[in-house]
Amino acid sequence: MATEALPDPPALRRGRRRRLLDAMEAHDLDVLVLGRVANIRYASGVPILWNAGTRPFGPGCIVVRATDEVFLLSTWDEGVPEEIPHDHLYGITWNPMNYVSLLEDIAASARPHRVGTDAMSPLFAQLLPMAFGEAEIVDAGPALRAARRTKTSEEIKAIRAAIDVAEDALAVAVGELRSGGTERELTASFMDAMASLGITTPATQDVVRVTSPGAATEPRGGRTVREGDLVSFDAGVVADGYAGEVGRTWPADLDEASPAVLDLYRRSDELWDRLLDACRPGAPASALLDAYVAAGEPLPATPVARGIGLGFDDPVIVRDLPETAAAETLDPGVVLVVTGVVSESAVGSIVTHEVILITPEGPEMLTSSPFWHREHAGAPS
C-alpha cells in the first residue's frame, strides 16, 4: 500500500474494462447497474473504504457500453482515475428518488434496451423500471462472471502480491502457536502482522480453529490450544482489492507426532496428489469432487474450490452443486483456492488451502507456505 489511496494501475484497469465491455456485448447488455464492491472495483478501478460483511444493493457504479462511460458513487475524487471525470461522480444519498433522477439522465442519452444488475432489492425492483422505462432489467451475473472468471496477467500479479502478505502474516501467527494460547490470540497475531505489512483488510476473520475433539465444547474464537492439538489457520487478506489466501494446519508443541496424527497427514498428502492432478487445463471442475471420492475422503459441505480475484469468483465447486461443477471447465487463467480437508474424529482435521493458477501447461501453485509434517523429523515427507 502506498501513502495515499491511488486508482488501480492503468494496465489493470484497461484489461478489465475491455473484458467487461466485451462481456456486455456478448450478453447484449447496454447498461450495467452494479452494487457489489468487487464488481464496482472491477469496472471503476477505484479503492473503496472497507467494511466487513455484505452490503445492501444500490447503484454504486453504472457502466454504459456504447460510450464506455463509468458513473461512480463517490462523494470525492480520491483514487478516481482520469477516465472518470468529476461530472460522472455522484454522492451518497438517503433519498432513493435521487437515484431515479441520476439513472433517468443516464437512460436519456444511453437509450438502453437491456439493463443488467448484479443484485436486486424490492425497492430497486420498483425504482429501476421508473428510471429505465421500457428497458428489460436482467441479471448481469452471467456477463460479470464471463468477464471475471479468468484473470488478466495484471490481475494474477495482484493476487500474487496478496498471497505474499497472507503467507508472511501466517508465518508470524504459526510462530505464536503454543499450548495455553487461544484461537483469539492467534487471530490477533495474524491481524497485527498483516496490518504491519501495510495491508489492513482481511478476506476472512474466521482465521484460527482448534480442530481437535473437545475443543468444540468451548465457544468459537475463545478455544484454548492444548499440547498436540491440530490447529488450522485460514489466512486471507484483501490487498489492493485482490484476495490472497493460504491455509495450513499445525499441531501445537509437538516435536514427534503420534501415529494417528502422522496417518492424517499422510491422508492429506494423498488427497492433495489427486486434487492437483484434477487441476488440468480443460478438465471439468467436477474432477475436484471426484478426487475426494477417489481418495476415500468425505466431501465437506463447504466449497472444495472457488475462484479467487476480487473476492470470490467462478467457479464455485461444492458437493451440493454437482451440475455446476460438471458444467465448469478449468480454463487457463482461472485462479482457484483449492481446499483439502481430512478428518479423524479422535484426532481432529487437517485443512489446507492452496491457490492454484490453471495454465496451458498445467496447474501452477501460487502458495508456498511450509507444512509442519514436511519440516519435522519423523514425519512423512
Binding site: 445492501p56 424490492p122 484476495a243 461444492v318 452443486l321 455446476t324
Partner: protein
C-alpha cells in the same frame, strides 16, 4: 421495550454478559408480532444483519467478496416459533442457537442458478402457496429465477418488518453494544497513549486489530480511519458537494507532529457493532484555537443531548444543533447529525440526512433507540474537531454509552 428504561433512569444497569437465550426469545416475539401486524407470512433474509437478528447467529464477518458466497440465510414464518437458518457454519450454530435439527440447514449458494433451484425446493416445502412473502435482497441468480421464488413481483420489502423490530434495543442487545464499545475503547486508549510522530496509519491499525481481538472482538467491521485533517479544505480531495472529504482510507502515510487526526473505527461483539470517534493531535497539545473548536463541538453536542428524550422528533435534534451555529447545520453534508447503531455500523434511524426537514419532523424516536451523535466543527484555516458518542434514548432523556475522554482537548 423492557422495564429497564424507566422515568428515573439516568444510568443503565447493563449486564456484562448478555443473556443470549433471552435476547433470541425477545427478538423472536417482536418479529412474529410485527409480521402479524404487517400481514406478512414469511420473511426471506439475506442481509448479514437481518439474518443475525432473526436467528441469533453471529459469525466473524468476512470481506464482502467472500461474504456474498459464504452467506447465512434465514427464513422466518409468522406461525413458527423457530426460524430456519441456512449456514456454512452449521456446527457453530448447532451448539449455540438451540434450533431443532429440521430448522438448521446446510449452506445455500444463492449466487448460482443450481443453488437457487435447490433453495426454491426447500422454500416450497416451508412456505405454503398463497403466503405473503417479504424479502430484503435478491442475488442476481434469484432475480433471474424470481417467478419461481416470488409469485408477486415486485416483492414486499422485508424492511417493513426489520426496520420496526431493529429500531429499539433490548437490555441484552444494549449489553452486547456496550461490550463492543468497551473493547474498542480499551484498544484506543493504548493507541492514544503511544501516539508518536513517525508511526504509519497502518501501524495504528495493526495495534488496534491486535488489541480488539485479544479483548474478545468477534470481527473488525471498518478499516480504521486515522485521517489527517489539514488546515484548509482545499488540501483535501475535491468533493461533489463542496463540503470536506471524510472519511478517507488509511494508508502507510506517516504521522507528523501537530497532525490533527480524526479517528473512526468499529468492531463487532456477538453481532453488535461499536462506533468510536474522537479527534487527537499528534505529539502536541491543541492550540487555543483548536481548543475553541472542541468547546464549540461540546456546546452543539450538549444542546442536542438536552432535547433528546423518548418521543422527540429528529428535527428537534437538528434544530438544537443548528441553533448553536446560527442556523448552519454542523455536520457533513453527505452524512447526518446522528445515526442508529446495532447489527450494522450505521442503521436507521438517520437524523439530518438529505431526506430533509419534513422527513426528520415525522421521524419520532422512542425509548430504547440508539443514536450516535457526530456533529462536526470545521474552522477553515485551522482544521476542525469531530467526535462521536453513542446514546440510548430513555423516557427521561438519554444515557451516554461511550466512556472515553476527549483528551487532549478536554476530560
Amino acid at each position: 421495550m423492557t422495564d429497564l428504561l424507566t422515568a428515573e433512569m439516568t444510568t443503565l444497569d447493563l449486564p456484562w454478559e448478555p443473556d443470549r437465550a433471552r435476547l433470541r426469545r425477545e427478538r423472536g416475539a417482536r418479529l412474529r408480532t410485527t409480521m402479524a401486524d404487517k400481514g406478512i407470512d414469511a420473511l426471506i433474509l439475506l442481509a448479514n444483519a437481518n439474518v443475525s437478528y432473526a436467528t441469533g447467529t453471529t459469525w466473524p464477518l468476512s470481506d464482502a467478496g467472500r461474504g456474498n458466497v459464504e452467506r447465512p440465510v434465514a427464513v422466518v414464518l409468522a406461525d413458527d416459533a423457530q426460524p430456519h437458518l441456512f449456514t456454512p457454519f452449521v456446527d457453530d450454530a448447532a451448539g449455540e442457537l438451540g434450533l431443532d435439527a429440521d430448522h438448521l440447514h446446510g449452506p445455500t449458494y444463492l449466487d448460482l442458478a443450481e443453488g437457487v433451484t435447490a433453495f426454491g425446493k426447500v422454500l416450497a416445502d416451508l412456505v405454503p402457496g398463497g403466503a405473503t412473502i417479504a424479502i430484503d435482497e435478491l442475488t442476481g441468480a434469484m432475480h433471474h429465477d424470481r417467478t419461481a421464488l416470488l409469485p408477486d413481483w415486485p416483492p414486499r420489502p422485508a424492511s417493513e418488518v426489520m426496520s420496526a423490530v431493529r429500531l429499539t434495543k433490548t437490555t441484552d442487545e444494549l449489553a452486547c453494544l456496550r461490550r463492543a464499545l468497551w473493547i474498542s475503547e480499551q484498544a484506543m486508549a493504548e493507541i492514544q497513549a503511544d501516539l508518536v510522530p513517525g508511526a504509519r496509519q497502518t501501524d495504528l491499525t495493526a495495534t488496534y486489530l491486535h488489541r480488539v481481538f485479544d479483548l474478545g472482538a468477534e470481527a473488525n467491521v471498518l478499516d480504521p480511519i486515522w485521517q489527517v485533517m489539514p488546515k484548509f479544505q482545499a488540501e483535501l480531495p475535491w468533493t461533489v458537494h463542496g463540503d470536506i472529504a471524510c472519511p478517507l482510507i488509511s494508508t502507510e502515510r506517516r504521522l507528523e507532529k501537530g497532525d490533527v487526526l480524526w479517528v473512526d473505527s468499529g468492531i463487532s461483539y456477538q453481532g453488535f457493532h461499536s462506533d468510536f470517534g474522537r479527534t487527537w493531535v499528534v505529539g502536541e497539545e491543541p492550540t487555543a484555537r483548536q481548543q475553541a473548536q472542541y468547546e464549540r463541538w461540546a456546546a452543539i453536542n450538549d444542546a442536542v443531548v438536552a432535547v433528546m428524550r423518548a418521543g422527540v422528533a429528529a428535527s428537534d435534534l437538528t434544530a438544537a444543533a443548528a441553533e448553536v451555529c446560527g442556523g448552519e447545520r454542523p455536520w457533513m453534508d453527505h452524512f447526518y447529525l446522528g445515526h442508529g447503531l446495532g447489527l450494522d455500523s450505521a442503521e436507521a434511524p438517520y437524523v439530518g440526512t438529505d431526506l430533509g426537514d419534513a422527513y426528520d419532523h415525522r421521524l419520532v424516536l422512542p425509548a430504547g433507540t440508539v443514536i450516535v451523535l457526530e456533529p462536526v466543527v470545521w474552522d477553515e484555516g485551522h482544521s476542525g474537531y469531530r467526535s462521536e458518542n453513542v446514546y440510548v434514548i430513555t423516557e427521561e432523556g438519554s444515557v451516554n454509552l461511550t466512556d472515553y475522554p476527549y483528551a487532549p482537548y478536554g476530560d
